[in-house]
Symmetry: C2
Subunit: 231 residues, 2 copies
DNA sequence: ATCCTTTCTCGTCCTAGTGACGATAACCGC
DNA sequence: GCGGTTATCGTCACTAGGACGAGAAAGGAT
């Protein structure tokens, strides 16, 4: 390895949450060139002695101000087109994070501002770099993973109702699900949720049972998106 | 970006094929330190002006000697632990390739040898670097993707029989599938395969219809692994 | 208190999809 | 022709899931 081309390596985060029946993403407004004043994914350089997942977790806590062990964090993909950053050859490892609803974030060091934006309004926000592509991949991954993993619970607080879980699915997938079939499906899929033994209070309608996330990593059988046109 | 830690970026390939009813992987025997004489995934440094998928495709053709547009190539994941390469900080972007059965490869520049090895015998081969982890992730990805995509066809020549496709599933998943139910499933899943209009000749038993890959990108409904214990 | 609205939860059809497996079709070698 | 082998079609039973009815349990209005 006497000679090799020098690269910069960064991590960028697609941080998603569900708030007020909308799927939202955490974005920062860039305070420095290039792409000054444009919205971008939170992220930064990987330390020379830092592992990639550690760098992602560090950026996540820096941007949200929340100690990490909540929600879900996984590697999404790596983007390294030679022209993607005008400053030089930068390869970025993108991570996908799914979090329950959190308070608004505080602006970081080189960010003029940081905030949750509904993904439906990001299209015309003109994200910096190739972050629109990364976001699209992250959304696709999140939508697909809700089908065959219990990751929808990562969008919920530790204890939640079936109805809350249903709104997560409805928000991420877009569209309505039958509450009765959804209830049957979730409670009959082994390991998806476990009863917490308590019920809600003070809401409208009949009080609902509270559940916690179950031990399953994969859902058998999977949840089915209604949009899928069957034969 | 005045200052940033300098990284080396490589691509490594998990190249899988099915030959003689065994799932095989393309490995090279390293001809230089570190890990001299050990088996490793084929791969190499990314050119300074080269995009990541281009680098992966280049390495694939270099190692197999086959012009690329056959089979399937997709990004698998990125591995960048600070200690994974004793020579310095090397981040590798792993790609997964699925190919039909090909002639044996020729050794490349820094490789003493290159050959197909059954994955069942790789466990005690002591792969270099963290390549055992990358291989495990690639196998898991391949097994999962056979369920909900038509990628099993990437292991087959352009025209193939249902039985050939079935042996692909049996080899990758391990275990037997009922030929009659498999035939019904494959031919009734829209867009999976299309009849080529020809039949096999010279084999034992009744001649079989030949099929080509269909236009579907996703299988609805998916193929089901028998190992999955249903409730 | 009584009614009405809202939401949760259970139950009942009906159909598509699938595992188990029988039966037939079309080739081979002897 | 005859048995062996593989491909292909059909039947039956069972399960998962979509559509939807109905009761349970709360709050609010009158």
């Amino acid at each position: 390895m006497a000679e090799f081309p020098p690269f910069a390596v960064t991590v960028d985060l697609v941080v998603l949450t569900v708030r007020a029946d909308e799927l939202c993403i955490l974005l920062v407004r860039r305070g420095v060139p290039p792409y000054h004043d444009r919205w971008a994914l939170p992220g930064g350089f990987v330390g020379f002695d830092e592992d990639l997942p550690d760098a992602a977790a560090r950026e996540l806590t820096e941007e949200t101000g929340v100690p990490e062990p909540i929600g879900h964090l996984e590697q999404l993909g790596t983007y390294g087109s030679p022209k993607r950053d005008p400053r030089g050859r930068v390869v970025t490892v993108a991570y996908l994070a799914l979090l329950p609803d959190l308070p608004p974030p505080v602006a970081g060091t080189d960010a003029a501002a940081a905030d949750w934006l509904p993904v439906s309004r990001v299209a015309d926000a003109q994200l910096a770099f190739d972050h629109d592509v990364i976001l699209a991949d992250g959304l696709e991954r999140a939508r697909a993973k809700l089908e065959y993993t219990p990751l929808a619970t990562a969008f919920c607080p530790p204890e939640f109702t079936i109805a809350r879980l249903r709104t997560v699915y409805e928000t991420v997938w877009g569209g309505r699900l039958d509450p009765r079939n959804f209830h049957r499906k979730v409670t009959s899929t082994p390991g998806f949720v476990e009863p917490a033994g308590r019920v809600t209070e003070g809401d409208r309608g009949r009080p609902a049972q509270l559940f916690r996330r179950g031990p399953a990593e994969l859902l058998h059988p999977p949840m089915l998106r209604p949009s899928v046109t069957r034969s």
